[in-house]
């Protein structure tokens, strides 16, 4: 195909899959929070970045990647819940732009705080020894083991999240709240606790994405900025508030980006926006969007 050997093509498909998985982790969080709370969390990118930095601290403290992988989402989720409880909660029922502006201001503080504490230059983040090296596929191409690990972990997380949302009672309340939160409240459920939990889950996923991405992309204060914008694109293309949309569009756009960087490397930063413009022109509500949701 266009003189590109098959092994390079396959390598790029897997690279796109890894990128897509990171997109999905972040976009699911954004989409869950938006669907239930109608809040666009502008601090999502900053929390992703904090995930990587907290991971760095954990690695220094425990010296154990696996433990860090569990601690980071808990810490970041905790921070997210604090943000919801002390700040975002006070703005419900007002102009929907206010939480967006608030989380934007919070993200500026978070980025600046990291610059002060850790400096403006980046840090390397080494993958654990167990996951170094690469796997050979039928002598066709080899792929770094760590990246395969990211694919598997993310796939498992998505599966558990799906089971949680579809099969448990709490998941039922969350899905109900996304459709009609007033009705859920009428049934005697304290939805503010659910809000807190969903904010925690969403931001915890951002933290997980941060530490997972750190060994591949490095750790630096601005790492969340471009990522956040790209994940907005993912959620707009997939349709906000739709879990399926976040997964499909995250994986799709991951492939689009990695294929473009193979064939037209200069356009790899722009293509995602072109894809978004095309989707919007054809189907303004996104691929799986519920039209009219907070418009």
């Amino acid at each position: 195909m266009f003189g590109i050997p098959l092994n390079m093509l396959l390598f790029q498909v897997f690279t796109g899959l890894v990128l897509g998985m990171i997109f999905v982790l972040l976009a699911i969080g954004l989409s869950l929070i938006f669907g239930l709370l109608t809040v666009v969390n502008f601090a999502h990118g900053a929390l992703y970045m904090w995930g990587a930095y907290v991971g760095l601290l954990c690695m220094g403290y425990f010296g154990n990647f696996w433990l860090s992988l569990i601690v980071v989402p808990l810490v970041i989720g905790g921070i997210g819940m604090a943000v919801e409880y002390f700040f975002v909660r006070r703005l419900y029922g007002l102009n929907p732009d206010y939480p967006l502006l608030l989380t934007f201001a919070i993200s500026l503080i978070m980025i600046e705080a990291v610059r002060i504490l850790f400096g403006t230059t980046g840090y390397p983040f080494n993958a654990p020894t167990l996951l170094r090296g690469s796997v050979n596929f039928f002598d066709l191409f080899s792929f770094p083991l760590y990246r395969l690990f990211v694919i598997v972990v993310t796939a498992l997380v998505i599966l558990f999240l799906w089971l949680f949302l579809e099969k448990t009672n709490v998941g039922l309340i969350i899905r109900g709240g996304t459709r009609n939160s007033e009705m859920v409240r009428l049934l005697g459920i304290d939805i503010s606790k659910v809000w807190l939990m969903v904010f925690g889950i969403g931001t915890g996923l951002a933290g997980l994405a941060g530490i997972l991405a750190a060994p591949m992309r490095g750790v630096y204060p601005e790492m969340g900025i471009a990522m956040l914008v790209e994940c907005f694109v993912v959620t707009v293309v997939g349709g906000m508030g739709s879990l399926k949309g976040a997964v499909v569009s995250g994986l799709l756009l991951g492939q689009v980006v990695s294929m473009t960087s193979l064939f037209i490397p200069e356009a790899s930063n722009i293509v995602i926006f072109i894809a978004m413009a095309v989707v919007l022109l054809i189907k303004p509500s996104g691929l799986f969007g519920i039209s009219g949701l907070l418009e």
Binding site: N95, L102, L108, E112, A226
Partner: protein
């Protein structure tokens, strides 16, 4: 407080006239009115029409780059350079506005952000045109002239301030005329209740688009003036932090008020100037201020002052 509304434009003009005397150095005053103009343009869309744009760096940057590029390539006159900047920003707003206005609310904000980022990446790649990462350098600064009549070098700090001041006064007069016109009232009607405006027979999509273009044009003018001012266009002018800065200025001053954007830009840049003397990390101070602003004073400085004075004067609330 009726007199403020009636004479609001006159009052801003008087205040802006004496700003160079009040500021520690003239260049800060020039910064303030250029960013004030930008925030003013932004306010048409956010404050008056109620459309939250997160990508106004796009029109600021388009105006800045267009003016810079045409001055370098053609060595045209000053006013031709500025017109080119405004025109290109307008064209950008026509296209991006059309696409973004296909969605409402939060989606609209995300779309404006995405398209601005797209322009940023485009400018960073297209080095032959924009100079890429290091920015566009060595932009000529043509004199203000009417062929055969006069030619003045305007590039001293004080002269350039009053040159920009001329454009700002003109923009204020035009904008005041527009916002007080029936069209301006429809914009505010859309902000308050779009469905009702549509029910009254207004083509709200068309009107929002016009508001978007108008807003882009004034932002482009600010970009063009900024290029002349520093004889340079930086890639970061297109970056999303610039969009955030514009938004924060409007928010700080008071969105939907005529005074607000100038007060916001002035206070923002003055704070930045003071704080950055102590620390390079000035966002750590400004960030919490904005958190407090959103949570407790969403009407901004001027909006809060106006509400306060109206409560005591007992006159009916007015937008101004």
């Amino acid at each position: 407080m009726g007199w403020i509304t009636n004479r609001s434009v006159l009052m801003i003009i008087v205040v802006l006239l004496i700003i160079p005397i009040l500021m520690p150095y003239e260049a800060l005053g020039t910064q303030m009115i250029i960013w004030g103009l930008l925030a003013l343009g932004y306010n048409i869309l956010y404050g008056y029409t109620g459309l939250l744009s997160f990508g106004h760096a796009a029109y600021f940057g388009l105006g800045a780059y267009a003016t810079g590029i045409i001055l370098i390539r053609t060595h045209c006159s000053l006013l031709a350079g500025i017109s080119a900047g405004v025109l290109v920003a307008c064209i950008g707003a026509v296209v991006i506005g059309f696409l973004c206005l296909r969605r409402r609310g939060i989606y609209f904000a995300l779309l404006t952000l995405a398209f601005a980022q797209m322009l940023y990446f485009t400018a960073s790649i297209w080095e032959s045109l924009t100079g890429g990462e290091p920015g566009l350098r060595n932009i000529p600064q043509p004199p203000l002239e009417l062929p055969g009549l006069f030619s003045i070098n305007i590039y001293t700090p004080l002269r350039f301030y009053y040159f920009v001041f001329g454009f700002v006064v003109l923009s204020l007069l035009i904008l005041n005329r527009i916002l007080e016109s029936p069209f301006g009232k429809v914009l505010q009607g859309i902000r308050e209740n779009e469905k009702r405006a549509r029910a009254l027979g207004y083509n709200t999509n068309r009107i929002k688009w016009l508001s978007f273009i108008l807003s882009g044009a004034f932002s482009g003018l600010a970009g063009a003036l900024h290029t002349l001012y520093i004889s340079f266009v930086g890639l970061e002018q297109l970056y999303w932090e610039t969009s955030g800065k514009i938004l924060l200025m409007a928010l700080l001053g008071g969105p939907g008020t005529f005074f607000g954007p100038f007060i916001g830009a002035g206070v923002f840049l003055y704070l930045e100037d003071i704080i950055s003397a102590f620390t390079t990390y000035w966002m750590i101070v400004l960030g919490p201020i904005f958190v407090l602003c959103v949570m407790f004073f969403p009407q901004g400085i001027w909006g809060t002052i106006r509400e306060f004075t109206e409560r005591f004067s007992g006159s009916p609330p007015r937008k101004g």
